[in-house]
């Protein structure tokens, strides 16, 4: 095991066209199965799901890489609705 990864710094290298208004992914913040929440927080490559000390689930859609992994894992559970951001918005890979 190595140093703890800092995903935010990595996302900082990417180009995003931010959708200031709406999240393209709808998360069920009331979802209470801790084991499932743990899986989603660990599977997201961008580390956008987190749980605070009060066990409240947070999701930040702004650094989303639009991979769909959380949808595959937890649609109908933590993930209520999953769509791509509207055209032009979201991640823009310069290299890919």
């Amino acid at each position: 095991m190595t140093d703890k990864v800092n995903v935010a710094d990595k996302l900082g290298m990417n180009k995003f066209h931010t959708d200031e208004l709406n999240s393209h992914i709808e998360v069920d913040k009331e979802y209470s199965d801790k084991a499932e929440i743990d899986l989603v927080t660990r599977v997201c490559p961008a580390g956008l799901y987190s749980v605070d000390e009060n066990e409240t689930l947070f999701f930040d859609y702004l650094g989303c890489l639009e991979c769909g992994t959380c949808k595959v894992l937890s649609e109908g559970k933590v993930v209520k609705n999953w769509n791509y951001p509207p055209g032009t918005l979201g991640i823009e890979y310069r290299m890919g």
Binding site: T2, N14, T69, K71, G87, R94, G96
Partner: protein, 391 residues
């Protein structure tokens, strides 16, 4: 735009969509391709390496004009086990045949180039538009809906990628399960050309494709050399998140810090961090491929193959785009776009390397799952070389 009816509308400007657009426009069909990113490639990523043969058939010697990074001349396959590593190298510098070549590519650049070629052939490309739904009348797909705009066509090709929300909406594609897809995460690391050449023992323009197995029970690693960067990443079957306490971003960090990997990327600088799904479900995952007025291609059709330790998707995508275009052209001849008329697409895929590749991946996956490949490095490499390099 809504006044006009196109011969074909293609959803998604990745490799299969662009290939179909290129070939249809070349034959004079009114072809519209709609991409949600601001350009083709904006939403795409690969490990990655493109096997050139399928594009070679369409654009001979494409690699001389296209922005490929390096021609792969060395395949390295490493098996790691508790700090020990065995590596097999296959050097193909003595072999020269364009149809047998593969290249490291970056999709942001490569797809943009292919999009330019399709536009030159007369395809109409609209970027920055997300297709939300399909127009379906009496079971026939008649066009697409984007926001409050509707556009009609004789045929719609769904080339909308691994998630294919449209394929799912149409009911052609089942919900993807966690043991059918891998998540791939990658860092693109800038590194001086000469340093790359020196570290990997290659000349300018030559590249290495390197797969690492055994570094973990839940993920595998990869490294590809680009012109002046290296792509380093890990792939994990989504189901495997249940077998570990680690996080996916941390897996990539651990892999990079692995004693065998760290020296290869020392002094590099992160320029992009990306992630994508890789369909790995074999033939079972392939959706209904055609219907009345509609075809599905590429990752959307799960036409991807994990042949032991090399993952092929892009060459299969291009081939499926070509076969979809052929089916549309044949349908156009008869002005008949029914399910029956388009069934030629399925037949031609079945008789093509695409399906044998996807079926081959099933054999390899079964071997991996049963443990046949994991335990015995010699067996790993023998199978691997037979399956992936010799065929």
């Amino acid at each position: 735009m809504s006044e006009e009816k196109f011969d074909c509308i293609i959803v998604g400007g990745g490799l299969s969509g662009l290939t179909a657009a290129y070939l249809l426009a070349e034959k004079g069909l009114e072809t519209l391709l709609i991409e949600k990113g601001n350009y083709s490639g904006a939403k795409n990523m690969t490990g990655g390496r493109l096997y050139g043969h399928s594009l070679e058939k369409i654009i001979p010697a494409f690699a001389q004009a296209a922005p490929v990074e390096r021609r792969i001349v060395k395949e390295r396959l490493s098996y790691q086990d508790s700090g020990k590593m065995t590596t097999v190298e296959y050097d193909s510098r003595g072999v020269a045949a364009p149809e047998g070549e593969s290249y490291s590519v970056l999709r942001g650049k490569f797809d943009k180039w292919l999009a330019d070629q399709a536009e030159e052939k007369g395809a109409m490309l609209v970027c920055g538009v997300r297709v939300d739904d399909l127009i379906v009348r009496d079971g026939k797909v008649c066009g697409v809906i984007a926001g409050d705009e509707e556009m009609e066509a004789d045929v719609v090709i769904l080339a909308d990628g691994a998630n294919s929300l449209l394929g799912q909406k149409l009911g052609f594609k089942h919900k993807i399960s966690t043991n059918q897809v891998m998540v791939g995460v990658k860092e693109l690391l800038e590194l001086d050309k000469d340093v790359i050449n020196q570290r990997f023992g290659i000349e300018s323009g030559e590249g290495v494709a390197w797969m690492f197995s055994g570094c973990s029970d839940v993920y595998d690693g990869f490294l590809y050399t680009n012109s002046d960067s290296v792509s380093v990443g890990v792939t994990m079957m989504v189901e495997n998140i249940k077998k570990t306490d680690n996080s996916v971003p941390q897996m990539l960090e651990d892999f990079k810090n692995n004693t065998d990997i760290a020296p290869l990327i020392e002094g590099s600088r992160l320029i992009e961090y990306s992630a994508h799904l890789i369909p790995e479900g074999g033939p079972e995952m392939i959706p209904k491929l055609y219907g009345d007025g509609v075809l599905i291609t590429g990752d959307a059709a799960a036409l991807c193959a994990n042949l032991g330790f090399t993952i092929r998707g892009m060459d299969l995508s291009i081939e499926s785009g070509r076969l979809a275009a052929e089916a549309v052209l044949a349908a156009k001849e008869k002005e008949e776009f029914s399910t029956n008329a388009l069934s030629y697409y399925q037949t031609s895929l079945e008789n093509n390397f695409v399906m044998s590749c996807v079926k081959g991946s099933e054999v390899c996956l079964a071997a991996v799952k049963s443990g046949d490949l994991k335990g015995d490095p010699l067996k790993v490499f023998n199978n691997l070389i037979k399956e992936t390099l010799i065929g």
